[in-house]
Amino acid sequence: MHLQSDSALTDEQRAIRDAVEEFALEELRPEAQELDDAEAFPEDAWDDLAELDLTGLTVPTECGGFDADKTTYSVVNEAVAYGHLAVATALSVHCLATSCIAEFGSDEVKEEWLPEMVDGRPVGAFCLSEPGAGSNPAEMTTRAEETEDGYRITGEKQWITNGQRAGVYIVFAKTDPEDRGSITQFLVPADYDGVEVGKKEHKLGLRASDTTGMTFDGVEIPEKYRLTPEGEGLSAAFKILTGGRLGIASQAVGVAQAALDEAIAYAGEREQFGKSIGDIGSIRQKVADMATQVAASRLLCREAARQADAGEDSRVIASMAKYFASEAAVDVTNEAVQIHGGYGYMSEFDVERFYRDAKITTIYEGTSEIQKTIIARDLLD
């Protein structure tokens, strides 16, 4: 059920929403629980995403991509997450990597990587976080030493989405370990000597997505794989992550909508005290709250997208969208479990997974606290 009026989208955006949502519901949702259980990523589904042109979502048309506007980007992220958040996350991280290459790579590097990434493989990963540097990436210790014809990268990254699946890593490292301002963005192919994938983490949710540590042990890369000038890596990361935030916010809307739809259906089916629980006042109030939160979240996402498409500075509204939608997703999935009662606690019911999955959205790509810090800074400083 779409709570947003159809007239808010163009014909093309609406058709994209309907097509991707149908795909997500028919192909992703049915296998989500099994994959969650097995902690396995659906590689076949990834191939399907490529067939649908989703793996080239943010790649310019010159490089064979779809070059989606931000509203379409938001709509697609919501629709994929409506089916399975772990797949949506893998896709949005792949899109972060393609965005970095498209935005900062030379023509030669773009030509080399983007057309194939548009076709789905190599999969991209984005390596910013480290064991000691999460919310504050400036504290990273990964190092890039200049060599005769390029750089040698050494360091540890943590919790890298697509860590195992990726064929190419976007890596942030300091060219001068003493200088916080020396963070630079590099491209590292997975098959280079010294690239080591750490063990796959076991997680509360998002279990079908592979999250791993990464070790770069003196990986020698050519000069052309330095994507930004030295010292401009962090601002590049933040720029790309502003787009990423809209993606995660929209994914949060997708999971929340999925939980809401399940809750509404269940409230209509389940009977207690001789009537359907959907006739009980407190359940009705819950559903009204949930639907309002989902609608407000979605509108923040669409407004952030609209501002970005209009060329306005959308950083603050994107942070508001990410903060509000992710917290709403946690609340809404929690209430969806509550409405299901004991059945909601059982893994046969999708809401159990939605509840576990939703939590990650308040953490990655900038925690809720960090989003609020960004919003407050804009208002007060």
Partner: protein
Amino acid sequence: MKVLVTVKEVAAVEDDFEIDGLSIDDRYLEYDLNEWDDYAVEAAVQIAEAADEDVEVVAATIGPERSEETIRMALAKGADRAVRVWDDAIADQTLLDVNAKASVFEQVVAEEEPDLVLTGVQAADDALGATGVALANRVGYQWAAVVNDLDYAAGDDVATVRRELEGGVEEITEVDLPAVLSIQTGINEPRYASLRGIRQAQQKEIAPHDLSDLGLDAETVDGALELTDMYEPESESDATIFEGGAEETATELANVLRDKGVVGE
């Protein structure tokens, strides 16, 4: 060569709905491309994709302006353009019967001169299941109904088809072109529309025609069938469950079948 695919936007009714006279209010309806037509479009697009020569796939529909959104999904999946026929005289019908549809499509075929016409076996809403064959009869094309396997390459004069007959019997037969084939679900795996396909579809032509454009008058669509009433049939559940061994339950079942007159004494 040219392949014409007839497509229809059909309405599915939500679980809870109200009947108002001879119709169900729009708010209880969800519109979508008729499932069988989705398979017919896929079959046509596959012929075009595998061809060495140029194959144009034209979708033809009888439907109001609203149906363009649905028809565009067929364009997004690979049809090249569409023809949409609508007219006040069509809107006035309580039920557009097979003859009326065949008359309309007859003119579309006369205009487009396709080598192959693919229709769905039936439409999910009124399930008349006869439009394809009636059309073939009108235009004098060969035909095969309920096709669940198709072996045809663009330019061939003959299509080899497998048809589903009653009672689980299947028939493999050859059909000379030009021909009308009514396509059964399961013949292929219809694709999802890709983003690029959707974008391209926004630019593709959906040419509107009214009856006079096709050289027809209002009487042509005055069919012999009239919709006179609409109601929800009483559904009683009186399931009988036989318990016990096969021998015993088979005897009980046989008795019931005999009692109800399903089988003779």
